[in-house]
């Protein structure tokens, strides 16, 4: 398995100008490595809906790549999103699930099914164009460039260690900006010329 930090470092190194929506469980590690915060949404507020927001952005801006980082607990809360996304088939959509088997946000309680849940199988059967799974940073690093060049929607399942000290706790210490600022700010970036 790999750590959350290892995985987001690899994704960040290959994102280019992609929009990235990092879920409640991935936002702290992501924001520590991101070099392009104006293209980021550190999602919070409606747990599990990061992929739905990402789908809307991908459909609205087909010329921009959209990367969504979902936690496993989050995706379990909104599994239908896989079918909704596959049905729309956005070619610019790249969906990662960070499967650490715990609710890191609330203190590390186990998610139902933990690492046994086959998210890649769900995505494949929902109809994603490409589906991958990686359990080491080395394997992910070797393929990430090609995967982000593929036609979406693409799904990538990452097997992560069950860390709980990710700085993602609801009690801090990361200084969170409200979701409103991210959504309104990204709209400005995407729609205001110049």
């Amino acid at each position: 398995m790999m750590t959350m930090t290892e995985s987001v470092e690899i994704i960040s190194a290959h994102r280019q100008d992609a929009i990235v929506i990092a879920s409640q469980s991935a936002r702290a590690p992501w924001m520590k490595v991101s070099q392009k915060e104006t293209l980021d949404i550190a999602f919070a507020g409606s747990m599990s809906k990061e992929s739905s927001v990402g789908l809307g952005i991908a459909l609205a801006r087909p010329e921009r790549k959209v990367i969504v980082l979902s936690g496993d607990g989050e995706l379990l809360m909104n599994l239908g999103t896989l079918v909704t996304i596959a049905n729309q088939a956005p070619k610019n959509f790249y969906h990662f699930v960070m499967q650490n088997g715990v609710y890191a946000f609330t203190g590390g309680q186990p998610t139902p099914g933990g690492h046994a849940v086959d998210f890649a199988g769900f995505a494949k059967n929902a109809g994603y164009a490409g589906v991958y799974g990686f359990d080491t940073a080395h394997k992910l690093s070797a393929r990430i460039g090609d995967i982000l060049s593929e036609t979406g929607p693409v799904f990538v399942s990452l097997q992560l260690e069950p860390e709980t000290d990710l700085g993602v706790s609801a009690k801090g210490p990361f200084p969170w900006r409200p979701l409103k600022e991210y959504l309104h700010g990204l709209r400005k970036t995407l729609t205001v010329p110049g």
Partner: protein, 168 residues
């Protein structure tokens, strides 16, 4: 029944197009099935069916971030299911969004036995979401008022569809 009291699906679709709607994000409702059919048949509206209603507000928010004009369309039961999306995205993130709500169980002059109908207006008041009622073609200018209000206030505004729609 006079022609003035009829609600046609085509009138609602025309109102959406008048307000520049680009995408409809929806889950069907039996009372408004004709509207869904009309939306799906209209090639100028991008149709996004979902698996559960809580997805709709989040997808609509993403479309708005990308510069599009979405409309959400769910039944009152679906509105109840969507509580945390309405709270955390629509209201807290201040997204201008029109939500068409099929008013299942609404009986204008009779006893309202369906709890889905009895609770929807109190719920909208609780959320402080303003709403308009549409029962016939002549009411459809209220859809434009809802779009104007959503834009001016940067908040969700609801339109209750209070009558079963007829096809065009």
């Amino acid at each position: 029944m006079t022609s003035e009291s009829i609600l046609h699906a085509a009138t609602i679709v025309e109102a959406l197009k008048t307000n520049g709607v680009s995408h409809t994000v929806w889950l069907p409702c039996s009372d408004t099935a004709a509207i869904h059919e009309a939306i799906t048949a209209d090639r100028t509206l991008h149709s996004i069916p979902v698996c559960r209603e809580g997805e709709t507000m989040a997808i609509a928010a993403g479309l708005w971030v990308g510069g599009r004009i979405p409309v959400v369309f769910v039944q009152n039961t679906g509105f109840f299911e969507s509580g945390d999306s309405i709270r955390g995205i629509g209201l807290a993130a201040e997204i201008p969004m029109v939500i068409l709500i099929g008013y299942r169980g609404y009986t204008r002059h009779g006893q309202t036995k369906d709890s889905a109908a009895r609770f929807i207006e109190p719920m909208l008041h609780t959320w402080r979401i303003n709403y308009y009622l549409v029962e016939c073609d002549a009411d459809c200018d209220r859809i434009s008022k809802a779009f104007e209000e959503a834009e001016q206030t940067s908040r969700p505004v609801a339109v209750l569809i209070g009558k079963e729609c007829r096809p065009s």
